[in-house]
């Protein structure tokens, strides 16, 4: 068993205090504002450039009861991710947010915003209207949306976001992406330095603390990996795919069966950090980047880019298998999965298609099926 990295311990502490994390608490104590954001189409840089801390709305480290949310968001058609957010909002656990910024990627989050804003008292900014495709028309349209978002933030908080500030914020966030890429490149090794569960801790913390501090931690982590030469034993290499997952304990349970989770396909994982904001007009570059042209989300049409991207990841990370976690009622994922599953299987990567609930534990059927999957991979793979 590899020794625990000190930086990972530090990062773990940030997440342990979720939702009102210690760094967020300190930030508020300084009289500063926090803007909750939902969905990776919301450009965090704009919030940062306004002098506020962007904080991603997610669930915590474990599954929670959704009794309150189920009263307001019908569980038959709404994913448990949206209902988890609403539950936390209605319980007042997100009371430290000054406002919420959202987009329109799928019905789940649109209806969450529309329903939620009627029943909780956190102000919600107008949603960024996110096209379901990426072409010149969509970029142009989204550029308008990003500019609108800037105006809405300025008006709501009575601040001005300058071009200089946005350029600086982009540089800061690009630095995160660069370093997360470096970290993931290390995972391409046969004996990766981090477990998938540890990686998820890192990714969770990224959106729950001031970015400057996170970047410092990330640099420290890269340095610690270098100096300690930490590595995990070789094992079958898998990717976990899905809409999003925030529970490291789930990944840890998967890995305890004898695999390394070396990469993910989550919107809080690789889709979050994969693409840089390019140079040029910062606002246009943001619009383009936040439509995620390369590592597109399951909702984007046509689905070809996403299939190619997953296939490329499978090659780059030399995947033996993929666990596709299909969150119940996540229509974008359900309707996208068959589009790439066959191709990946044809390319020799086994895909396990599994139903889960957001934050759900590792028990019963899920455990049995993953165990069987891992056993099969272990027979196929010679380490």
């Amino acid at each position: 068993m590899a020794e625990m990295l000190k930086t990972i311990e530090e990062i773990g502490k940030v997440n342990a205090s979720f939702p009102f994390t210690e760094p967020a608490r300190k930030w508020k104590e300084q009289g500063k504002k926090i803007v909750g954001w939902i969905c990776i189409n919301v450009p965090e840089e704009v919030i940062h450039a306004a002098g506020m801390m962007p904080f991603r709305l997610t669930g915590g480290n474990e599954e929670i009861s959704l009794d309150l949310a189920n009263e307001y968001l019908f569980s038959g058609g709404t994913c448990s991710f949206s209902r988890t957010i609403l539950e936390l909002q209605l319980r007042g656990e997100y009371g430290f947010l000054d406002c919420i910024a959202g987009a329109t990627p799928c019905e789940g989050v649109i209806r969450l915003a529309e329903v939620g804003s009627y029943y909780h008292n956190i102000p919600t900014l107008p949603l960024l209207d996110t096209p379901r495709k990426f072409n010149d028309l969509a970029y142009k349209f989204y550029h308008g949306e990003v500019m609108e978002f800037k105006k809405n933030l300025e008006k709501f908080f009575g601040v001005t976001i300058t071009d200089e500030a946005i350029v600086d914020s982009i540089a800061l966030y690009n630095k995160t992406r660069t370093d997360l890429k470096k970290l993931h490149d290390l995972m391409k090794s046969n004996t990766p330095p981090l477990s998938g569960a540890e990686m998820l801790e890192v990714l969770n913390a990224a959106v729950r603390m001031p970015r400057e501090d996170f970047n410092t931690l990330l640099e420290k982590l890269l340095e610690e990996i270098k100096t300690t030469g930490r590595s995990l034993p070789a094992a079958p290499r898998i990717m976990i795919s899905g809409a999003l997952l925030n529970t490291p304990s789930f990944v840890q349970s998967v890995e305890s069966l004898g695999v390394n989770v070396v990469v993910d396909d989550f919107c809080n994982g690789s889709r979050y950090w994969w693409e840089q904001v390019e140079d040029g007009d910062p606002w246009k570059a943001l619009a383009k980047r936040y439509l995620l042209p390369k590592c597109s989300c399951p909702r984007i049409n046509p689905p070809q880019n996403r299939t190619d991207w997953i296939s490329q990841i499978a090659k780059d990370f030399r995947l033996d298998g993929i666990i596709a976690l299909t969150m119940r009622c996540c229509a974008p994922y359900i309707l996208n999965l068959p589009m790439w599953k066959t191709r990946l299987e044809d390319e020799g990567v086994t895909v396990l298609d599994l139903d889960i609930e957001y934050g759900g534990g590792f028990s019963g059927q899920i455990r049995t099926r993953i165990e069987a999957f891992v056993e099969m991979l272990s027979l196929e793979v010679e380490i």
Partner: protein, 431 residues
Amino acid sequence: MKLRKIENIDTTMFEQGIPIMAQLRDHHSTTRAETMFYDLTIKLCDEVMSAVKGGRPFVTNVMSFPTEIYWAMDIAGIEYDFIAGMFSLYMGNKDEIFTAAKSIGIRPEICSAQRAPIGWFAKGWFPKPTAIVNTSLCQCDNCAQNANIMGALYDVPVFCITRPYLFWTQKGLDFMVEEIKDAISFLEKTTGHKMNYDKLVEATRLTKKQMEISVEIHNLIKTARPCPVKSGTGFLIHFLRMMYAGRQEGVDYCQAFLDEMKERVASGKGYTPEEKYRLVSCYTFPPGMHGLLDWMETQGATLVAEPMYHYYNEAEVAKIDPTKPLEALARIFYVEPYHGFYGPYEVFSDMIINDAIQSGADGAVNFFNTNCRMCGAVSRLIKDQLRDKAGLSTLTVDVDVMENSAAVEEELKKKLEQFFLVLDNAKRKVA
């Protein structure tokens, strides 16, 4: 099973579905417009089959694709979700198609309306189209994505029109115009047929005419007592308008619908012998529940408002300019009340609340489609707002649009009976 190209396409099932429309006409039509609805649906299916057999391009679409384009390009077309759903509802093969969809990974959480066509394609029962077109309707993920699966099953090209969330803005309108242009280019490329813009001008003129008649229908529904519209027919007029957008038959149908209403008003007769419960219907009354509707009539219950199908904005209809056909199509898309349901929630709720108030409804029913991510999610909100803004109680029931079993019908009757007691109590209190 993997998502693989279907090698054997056999349209026997599709062809067997067509006469069922005639049976429905013969057994359930009690109005001229209803008879026309079934006849025109049959005509459309026949057009599709003769195109397929004769080698003429045939395109299939999800609900709400601007089908004026087909007419102006001389392409046969049909809406896959409507026709697959209708056929399976009455052919009794739901289990078979849903199992086929499940076998390629399409879970039951996807609403039956959009799983049905996937099942038809997975079985190889649907006629092979030249291309498939779909629309995001902005919010419905199922509509935005199921065409990809069907395209892969039949190995045919797919194009999706993305609709902005805030569609009433100039920006939203401009975006739609560009999307429609792209859709036309896609169809020109895949079908080899060129757009005839003169025909498109004429088609948008005819759709505008349909909408003007629909405005009249809406005004009459709101004001006439007793209600001159047969309950549940909003669904039919909506689909007919969509399938025959830009065609004279669509105008004739709307006119027949209106004329029958006017005749009722003139004779002072409604469809329900004694109107005891005037109800606003928030979503779609399950279309296969003919018996339930008949029973409701005997109880004095009438759907006096189906805003999702009738709520046309007169001022916006007036802005449609057929001489600018692309912009006209974008406006038509936005004016369609059904699409209000897919925009920001307030657009939808305003329609319902205004109709509820203006039609003097006693209560509301929200029979939303099981697993509908759109309507289910806001069902509690609608209920609360109808209570707060219109003082109305709402009966909320999730029921599958493809359900018509006697057991479910009985269950719904019981729920409605209880609801009528609630309404009686409310009336007593007011008195």
